[in-house]
Amino acid sequence: MKRTAIAGIAGLAAALLLSGCGASGTPSAQADPNATLVAAIGGEPDKLDPQSTTSYFAFEVLENVFDTLVEPDQNLDMQPALAESWTVSDDQLTWTFTLRQGVKFQDGSDFTSADVVYSYRRIIDEKLANAWRLSAITDISAPDASTVVITVGQPTPNLLSSLGGFKGMAIVSKANVDSKKINTAPVGTGPFSVAEYVSGDHITLDANPSYWGGAPKVAKVEFRFISESATALAALRSGDVQWTDVVPTQQVSTLQSDSSVTLGLAPSNDYWYLALNEARKPWSDVRVRQAIAYAIDRDAIVQAVSYGTAVKNQLAIPKTSKWYTEYAPFSTDLEKAKALMAEAGYTGGKLDLLATKDYPQTVTAAEIIAANLKPLGIEVSIRKPDFSTWLDDEGKGNFDMFMLGWLGNIDPDDFYYAQHHSKGVNNFQKFSNAEVDTLLDAGRVETDPAKRKDLYAQAAKIIADEVSYAYLYNPAVIQVWSPSLQDYTTRSDRAIRFRTAYLTK
């Protein structure tokens, strides 16, 4: 569960590929084992320590350098990675993982259970960005070199997705951390190792021939930092770059009809939403919040920000997820909105809408919302500070309404607990509902998947009805690459995996 700035390598949902996706081309095409795959990403990582960075740019690179105990497959179900198998005790409180044998770090040292214990202890003890994912854990031990035992305080059905859904839980090497080189020259167990880091320009990875999953099919991967989409697309067309995700949504239709590139679109697990400050009047009145939810033109917002690539959704979890619940209580209905306002005795006034210029879609949507709310007598003034100021204002409750998204959630607990539980750490809108609290607490420990899904469906419906968040849409993951790049697919969790990709000669 990460803020948009924060990375979102984690996810689930069947990777239903909307269009033009996947490896095309002739199967007989010859792979070039000496090729360098050049990928253009939108910016430079802040640091390369997977456990402490929160930058998606870092995770784009590190996805190819590090491993986790388990990892999501294309359908975002957890599969063995560094752990070969695992068992859960009958009381659901003890998880025993058996590690893969013969795995080595890229510096040649052996990977053992001590590295797993060290990595998790480091996240917990140093209170790193992802410590909350391990909050259920009471003890981690290594009875022998290839076994790790994790004890939890209560049944934790989402432990696997907490451990593997996100590269922030990567297994790191103690020697690498102690040498303080992890931020520039990290050492992992993954398919590629960091060979060169030129700040402001690129990071080059070398293939790891002894990777446990099989040696990669390209010799090197170079991640180049290109923030301008026009530059990135020009580089792709000229052949300087073979892959990029620096693609604004408005370019999708043009790229779809461009036979010189392959477009990868996948529905993501991200969601974008509006939140009203319930610590302030009149937004504390549920009827006023509902009036706004009825006044908003969701179709217009989705079209304007995504050009048809996103999917409208009035709950957080996307259709492609097994946790999806269909529910759409609000339609655009001005009369209903006005009636609710009248009932609440609110005749209109000013609304301070916090957007951020670092995510232009928030400004675009804000302009539509301003127009939508005008007939209700609500004068919207839009602020668009940079994202760090934005986070500051959000944390201080300095807003009437804000728009933002969450990236990289997998488990329903990720989608709802921190945001809507009255004790949730990210409940900046100050929503409080006893029934929702009970349901979310129950969902955390329910081990029967069907019952669990039902608990979250109930909670989510109340959250939507009470407009804790006004959910808007699930965006798509958009990537483009050269037709010479084969065996690469766009994943709905935004993980950029080049471990099996190859370039044709």
Binding site: S229, A230, P248, Q250, Q251, T254, D297, D299, A300, Q303, A304, K357, P360, V363, T364, A366, E367, I368, A370, A371, K374, S381, I382, R383, K384
Partner: protein, 297 residues
């Protein structure tokens, strides 16, 4: 300087200034263009076929057509309407900011130049400090301190152009201070305020008028730059700079989103600049001599 020229010169200067100005076709054309822009800005609420924030997403990114002369933007808003409605905002900001700079800067300059001595030294050092900052940097700093918006933009641009007016006014006031008619007034015991108002101000008005016109051009550009950076006019209200910022992401798809607000900035800034040049030609004694010589030749 003879006694006749003291009384006769101002009148002839004004008369022939207007005539000289009218004889320069570029200046006349610029004045006409400027008049049209100002009239368009004033009448924009009636001229605009659509509202500035009339969103119609189904109609987004339409190229220029009969219904939408300048096309539509990413939210389906009519760009022609937004461009002419933004003109009012841009011009208001420019006039208010330059007005501020003229009053404050001009005031500082006149006082500084007329009184001289320690007053002059202190005021001019302050002005020098302000001059040391790059224009946009100083404006950005001011906007960063206060909330972005139209009043802040006016103050930011106004403050940035204040030192220029102070310098111009001071330079002119220095030369007028030693003129016989000022010295006569001083010996007659006329209060300083009267001297400044009745003798100094009219005699330094030429350079100030020229500077005002030139500064308006730069104020238009500064406002566009601040709005482009997201610190000037706030969305959803239209501004030329803000429209170009949005257009960046659509350059290959919808050229009209950038071209028309860009052209508006270009034409308006150029018109102010050319009018300023024309005014300088006739109000600056040195330039004027050259023109008159050319005309008689």
């Amino acid at each position: 300087m003879s006694a006749e020229s003291l009384t006769a010169e101002p009148a002839t200067t004004r008369f022939s200034s207007w005539r000289l100005l009218a004889s320069n076709p570029v200046t006349v054309a610029s004045i006409v263009v400027l008049g049209l822009i100002i009239a368009g800005a004033l009448l924009a609420p009636w001229l605009a076929p659509y509202g500035a924030n009339e969103i119609n997403v189904a109609n987004q990114l339409q190229p220029p057509s009969v219904e939408h002369w300048f096309g539509t933007d990413d939210l389906g808003r009519d760009i022609f309407s937004r461009v002419i409605l933004a003109a009012g905002t841009s011009l208001t900001i420019a006039f208010a900011a330059v007005g501020f700079a003229l009053l404050v800067g001009g005031g500082i300059g006149i006082v500084s130049g007329y009184f001289g001595g320690p007053t002059d030294a202190v005021l001019m050092r302050v002005v020098d400090i302000m001059f040391a900052f790059p224009v946009l940097l100083l404006a950005l700093a001011i906007v960063a301190i206060f909330q972005p918006g139209i009043p802040t933009t006016i103050i930011a641009i106004g403050v940035v152009y204040t030192p220029i007016f102070a310098r111009v006014a001071r330079g002119s006031a220095l030369s007028v201070r030693t003129s016989p008619f000022v010295q006569v007034s001083q010996t007659m015991g006329t209060p300083a305020v009267s001297i400044l108002g009745r003798h100094v101000l009219p005699n330094i008005s030429g350079p100030l008028i020229v500077q005002t016109s030139l500064s308006l051009a730069f104020a238009i550009l500064s406002e566009a730059a601040l709005s482009f950076l997201g610190l000037g006019v706030q969305p959803p209200d239209p501004s030329w700079g803000g429209m170009i910022f949005t257009a960046q992401g659509f350059l290959g798809l919808a050229w009209w989103m950038a071209i028309f607000p860009g052209a508006a900035i270009f034409v308006t800034a150029l018109a102010f600049n050319l009018v300023g040049d024309g005014l300088r030609d006739v109000l600056d004694p040195r330039q004027r001599t050259i023109i008159e010589a050319r005309r008689t030749a």
